[in-house]
Amino acid sequence: MAILEVDRVSKSFGEVQAVNELSFAIEDGRIFGLLGPNGAGKTTTIRMIMGVLMPDSGTVNIFGQPYSVDAGDAIGFLPEERGLYKKMKVIDTLIFFAEIKGLSRKQSLKPADEWLEKFELAEWRDKRVEELSKGMQQKLQFICTILHRPKLIILDEPFTGLDPINTNLLKDVMLELKQGGATIIFSTHLMEQVEKLCESICLINHGKSVLSGSLPAIKAQFGRNRVRLGYDGEAEFLNDHSLVSAYDDYGQYVEIRPAENVSPQQILAKAIEQVTVQSFEVADPSLNEIFISVVKN
């Protein structure tokens, strides 16, 4: 069953068409990535899902109905522009946001402390929000988003501003929440997280969906073989267009897109002739490459 359905939604601000006939659906219990370059319309789309903005045309259905505050109790929302009450204590903040989602103080106190522990914020429990660093405030706001155990979690750029350790922590928590039955939609332009987390994605550019579906299916669609080669020496064959149609140099290795009807073995044979091969791998195209090639075209 689709827990969230966005159907031919459009929104423009004056002359600018921010979102144009965008459609996608999210199945229950999945993690869904809403991808796109800066200014693609991700935040506008999420604001329309949350009823913060009204679409000019098209419909958004959550749990089979248009957005309403009552449905909001089953939703956790982390907006792109973070905001907390600076003067409130950390624990009071958590209880307040749980209360406006329909939880009682009693119900929220224990999980609040557990989450603070998990995100290493326990010692800040009785401090004011303004005393926290930006990264800590971000973690606190994430806890506010999920404290009431929402069925649908909507995160706008959840990873921005987090260090690698906290990024990993957040990723693990998202997987945990998914195992607990939650559906998660998040927007990002960090492909690494998407590859680790998402089952399906929608890539938008200039307000339009340019690529959507399950991640394996999309990769299969771009399913030409990629060769990742690590080497020492002068690899002149990379510029031989009968053999290599394109390549990206990542420093440690190059990712090679073979020319038509050229097998990885032929490239390996050529490489052994010219350079010292240190690693060789046949792989799917990375999401990063797909992202760049789709957005650039």
């Binding site: 949350m50 505050v69 939703i75 973070r82 907390l84 009450y85 209360e99 406006i100 988003t145």
Partner: protein
């Protein structure tokens, strides 16, 4: 409803728990106490602490000096019981006047004399004397000299006409006013000036409280909006719940403060006065007028109604602003009503039961100030008070409907501040 309660609770606690609230709540009564008791005491003390002042007198008329010396040494005394003004007679001939003046001026400059007076021979006809001093704007001193010499001159004239000066003085006594306030418990002695000061103070507190807490509502709305908390909150509660939470929560904090002040005021006017009398007998002379329970009740009622009236407007204005820095300009269209009402109070002060006063005080935007002022000076019949309350409630009802629509759209609008025609369009939809 539970969610609105959480919002109210947050708004209330976040304000009541601040140091500023605590300090403001406690300092205001202390300040009032100081003003009430200390200022007359200080005045008494400064009067008594003064030293004897030396005044030289050249009396060409030969009829005034002894009379004023006697009357001044009887009336005015320093704290040590010495005469306040030490009057010294200086002999001089009209020809030697210039030299005498030069001499005395030198003594004034040296500080040996505070002043010297020259009383001409024809003072009984010309009614004028000269006062020479370094400080000629000491009004208390000038007044004392003028009073003393006037009485002396009158006495001399009466004697010259063969009348009994003491008898004429008795016959001439002025009548002094003694004011009584007609209230619930019948007629009661009370100082008119103090009673006026008290109702002025209460109206002023009402005015300040409305401006103060209304601005709090507006700033709260702007804070939510500019910190973007509002996006999360409005995914959980409806805009009208947020607006109600803000207004009721902040209003409750304001009411808490006013109730504390009222309790302090009531304690002061009953027990505090007794205590103060023990320590400072001078307090005896101040008549602390009582505030009737009716004034207390109407104060709270008109504060609550006025607060709802103005805070809904403040909330709507706040929802149109983008940043805290815009608050100043956004509050003007609202606060101007309160300022006009406050100015009108001075206009109707002298005839608070005139038809103009009645009409102005019934206008809902002015009622919290003007009707309450009329109540506090006992000029508003109960029927008018009730009518005013009904009008206020009806206006609030309509305003909530209009401002609610502005708030709902404004609170999520970022970027350019909407124009007046745009806002009018929101109201119509």
């Amino acid at each position: 409803m539970d969610k609105t309660l959480s919002l109210i609770k947050r708004e209330y606690l976040i304000r009541v728990k601040t140091k500023g609230f605590l300090v403001g709540t406690l300092l205001m009564p202390v300040f009032i106490l100081l003003m009430t008791f200390l200022s007359p005491i200080m005045a008494k003390i400064s009067e008594k602490a003064s030293k004897t002042t030396n005044v030289a007198v050249i009396d060409f008329s030969k009829q005034v000096f002894w009379t004023i010396k006697a009357s001044l040494s009887l009336d005015k005394r320093t704290s040590q019981g010495l005469p306040l003004y030490n009057m010294q007679r200086v002999e001089a001939t009209p020809e030697g006047l210039a030299a005498a003046k030069e001499n005395l001026s030198k003594e004034v400059k040296d500080g040996k004399l505070s002043a010297y007076l020259i009383i001409p021979a024809d003072i009984l006809e010309k009614n004028q004397f000269e006062l020479h001093s370094k400080n000629i704007s000491n009004f208390a001193f000038n007044q004392a000299m003028e009073d003393a010499i006037s009485s002396a001159v009158i006495k001399a004239r009466l004697q010259r006409s063969g009348l009994d000066a003491d008898l004429v003085h008795k016959l001439n006594r002025r009548a002094n006013v003694k004011t009584f306030k007609v209230g619930e418990e019948g007629s009661k002695e009370e100082s008119g000036a103090v009673a006026f000061f008290l109702s002025y103070a209460m109206v002023f507190i009402m005015y300040m409280a409305l401006v103060f807490y209304g601005t709090f509502v507006m700033r709260g709305v702007i804070e939510d909006k500019s910190s973007r908390v509002v996006e999360v909150i409005l995914s959980s509660v409806k805009p009208h719940q947020l607006m109600a939470g803000k207004i009721i929560g902040i209003g409750a904090a304001g009411l808490t403060q006013l109730v504390i002040w009222a309790i302090v005021a009531a304690l002061v006017s009953s027990y505090g006065l007794l205590m103060a009398k023990q320590f400072a007998p001078a307090v005896d002379k101040i008549a602390i007028p009582s505030v009737s329970i009716w004034v207390y009740i109407t104060f709270v009622s008109f504060f609550v109604l006025g607060y709802f009236l103005y805070s809904t407007l403040y909330a709507a204005m706040g929802s149109l602003a983008n940043a805290e820095s815009e608050a100043q300009s956004m509050q003007w269209p609202v606060v101007i009503f309160l300022i006009i009402a406050f100015m009108l109070m001075f206009a109707i002060m002298n005839s608070p039961d005139s038809p103009l006063a009645v009409v102005l005080s019934l206008i809902p935007f002015f009622a919290p100030i003007l009707m309450f002022f009329r109540i506090s000076v006992n000029a508003a019949p109960v029927s008018q008070v009730l009518l005013s309350i009904v009008l206020l409630a009806a206006t609030i009802w309509g305003l909530i409907w209009i401002t609610g629509k502005i708030f709902r759209i404004g609170i999520l609008m970022y970027g350019k501040r909407p124009t007046l025609p745009e806002v009018m369009k929101w109201i119509r939809y």
